[in-house]
Amino acid sequence: MSITAASGELESTATRAGHWAAFSRLMKAEWTKIRSVRSTPWTLIVFVVATLGLTALFGWLTVHAIETGRAPRRGVELSLDPVAFILGTGLGLGQLAICVLGVLTMTTEYSTGVIRASLLAVPKRLHVLAAKAVVFTVLIFIPGEIAAFCSFFIGKTIVAPVSTVALSQPGVTRAVIGAGLYLTVLGLFALAIGTILRHTAGAIAIVIFLVLVAPGLLSLLDSYDWGAHIHAWFPIVAGGYITADHQQAGQLLTPWQGFGVFCAWTALLLAASGYLLHRRDA
């Protein structure tokens, strides 16, 4: 114990610049790792193509249905909340690619054994996780925002005959930027679950359950006061609030509060994954 403490003190007297140099080396290494496997570009291509393609497809189908009188209620919904409609269709499915990439970023280290090489190179395991998370955040944030804005403009053009929407309207720009932020945090959420579970299939199954199935099940609880709270504070649901341009009637959290709740859940999971990574045998 005394040896550990002494070396800790020594380290704290070292220059901040030295620490930063060491961490930037790690980020460079993590960047090399993540860019040098095929799953990364492929998942991102699938993400962008699926998001934009589905936004266009669902937008066109819905507008066509409304115009031909097949779905008059959809027309009312769409004109009430066009942003939620545009960002909810393509990104709603495209987000699964981000989840898969988040999980794979960590679980392939275990399935291929690279984790041993990684931890031999950097025995301070939390540094590995931190560098990976930072690199992954940048990797997801940029395509996430691009996909969010492209989706918005594609969707806006397609729904124009039924409903008009523009970035200048209140809350719209925040919702579109928010969609990219939501995707970024979602990726980290999946990364944390991948780190905790270490197995690709199990982690992907759980993340997809949490993203696609659980919110629907929890909405059944909305008629109870306590149930509505559980629903609203559920990470994926709370995080999704930021992708709508205005707060729904009876919605318990504001968009930014919801995003904060999602970030807090993600931070909690990352902390748990860091603790497990540190404690477990590799």
Partner: protein, 326 residues
């Protein structure tokens, strides 16, 4: 230098490493021997900080692995288990390791040349043969020009050319004053490679000594004698203070199944003296062969009661015999 002090590791109620202490000195190849399941790989993983010890610890040049700032510049390791992404190229695998240590990318190309993987450097590592994979592992281990090397079963599954390459590499590295710990269950390989041996069984230290001492320390020299009069010769040998054991045979009439004279394994009396004794008593000898103790014998003798699966193997055999009797 590697120092292991009272190192222990339990997995549940199974003890993998049991209060193990030893030192690995620089400038020579130290062989780390033990039967399968003896705890060699676990010990190496503990030294390298991949597993957490249940007790005790290990230091490399006086520091715990986790305290090393750029560990690959101090320690290189080749683990038995695969640690390369099959979809990543050899170059990118080495590149990320080099970047994490602040080594220049040119070092990656040097290593690729050294191990002869330059031509396939941009190919996916998943398509590599066992030998190429092992070469990549060696390149990763030597990347940071480390003073200390730990190699877990490096020649396992390699062709003779690869074995020779690894063997010479280890000797060269040791002659440069580096500390080399190499594990193996191949005794004969260690006999020609290792200067020093650490033998463990069931996670415990059995012996740590120079290779020739380990060989010499085993039962000593035995002599194989074939004679039609084993009882008379045995009496003479026992009278000289030696020991003679008649080899067990199948037919129970004292002769070998093929009609040859029975075989005695004599210890404690030199071959020359056995010949003289036999001549003086007019005993006919059909064979008189001094048996050189090998590292294999020494090892089997040292670890005979620490074989992990010894009991498990004998039990089902006994049960099946009972079944046949019924």
């Amino acid at each position: 230098m590697i120092e292991v002090t009272d190192l222990s590791k339990r997995f549940g109620d199974k003890v993998a490493v049991d209060h193990l202490s030893f030192t690995v000195e620089p400038g020579r190849v130290t062989g780390f021997l033990g039967p399968n399941g003896a705890g060699k790989s676990t010990t190496m993983r503990l030294i390298l900080g991949l597993d957490h010890p249940s007790g005790g610890g290990a230091t490399i040049n006086g520091k715990r692995y986790a305290e090393l700032a750029s560990p690959l510049r101090t320690v290189g390791a080749l683990l038995e288990a695969k640690s390369v992404h099959s979809g990543r190229s050899a170059r990118n695998h080495l590149l990320f390791l080099a970047q994490s240590q602040g080594l220049p990318p040119s070092r990656v190309d040097e290593m690729l040349d050294l191990v002869g993987l330059r031509d396939v450097a941009n190919k996916r590592a998943g398509g590599f043969s066992l030998g190429m994979g092992q070469r990549l592992g060696v390149a990763a281990a030597l990347l940071g020009d480390p003073q200390v090397l730990l190699l877990d079963e490096p020649v396992n599954g390699l062709d003779p050319e690869g074995v020779l390459w690894i063997r010479n590499l280890m000797k060269d590295l040791a002659s440069e004053g580096r500390t080399i710990l190499v594990s193996s269950h191949l005794m004969n390989e260690m006999a020609v490679t290792a200067d020093h041996l650490i033998v463990i069984g069931r996670g415990k230290l059995i012996v740590a000594a120079a290779t020739e001492d380990v060989i010499a320390r085993s039962s000593g020299q035995a002599v194989r004698v074939r004679t039609p009069e084993p009882e008379r010769l045995t009496n003479l040998i026992v009278a000289e203070g030696g020991k003679a054991i008649q080899a067990a045979n199948g037919n129970g009439n004292g002769g070998e199944p093929d009609g040859q004279a029975p075989v005695l394994t004599v210890t404690g009396v030199a071959a020359r003296r056995i010949g003289e004794l036999a001549a003086s008593a007019s005993i006919v000898l059909h064979e008189l062969t001094p048996q050189l103790a090998t590292l294999e014998d020494a090892f089997l003798e040292l670890t005979s009661d620490s074989l992990e699966f010894g009991h498990a193997d004998s039990e089902p055999a006994g049960q099946s015999t009972e079944g046949n009797a019924r």
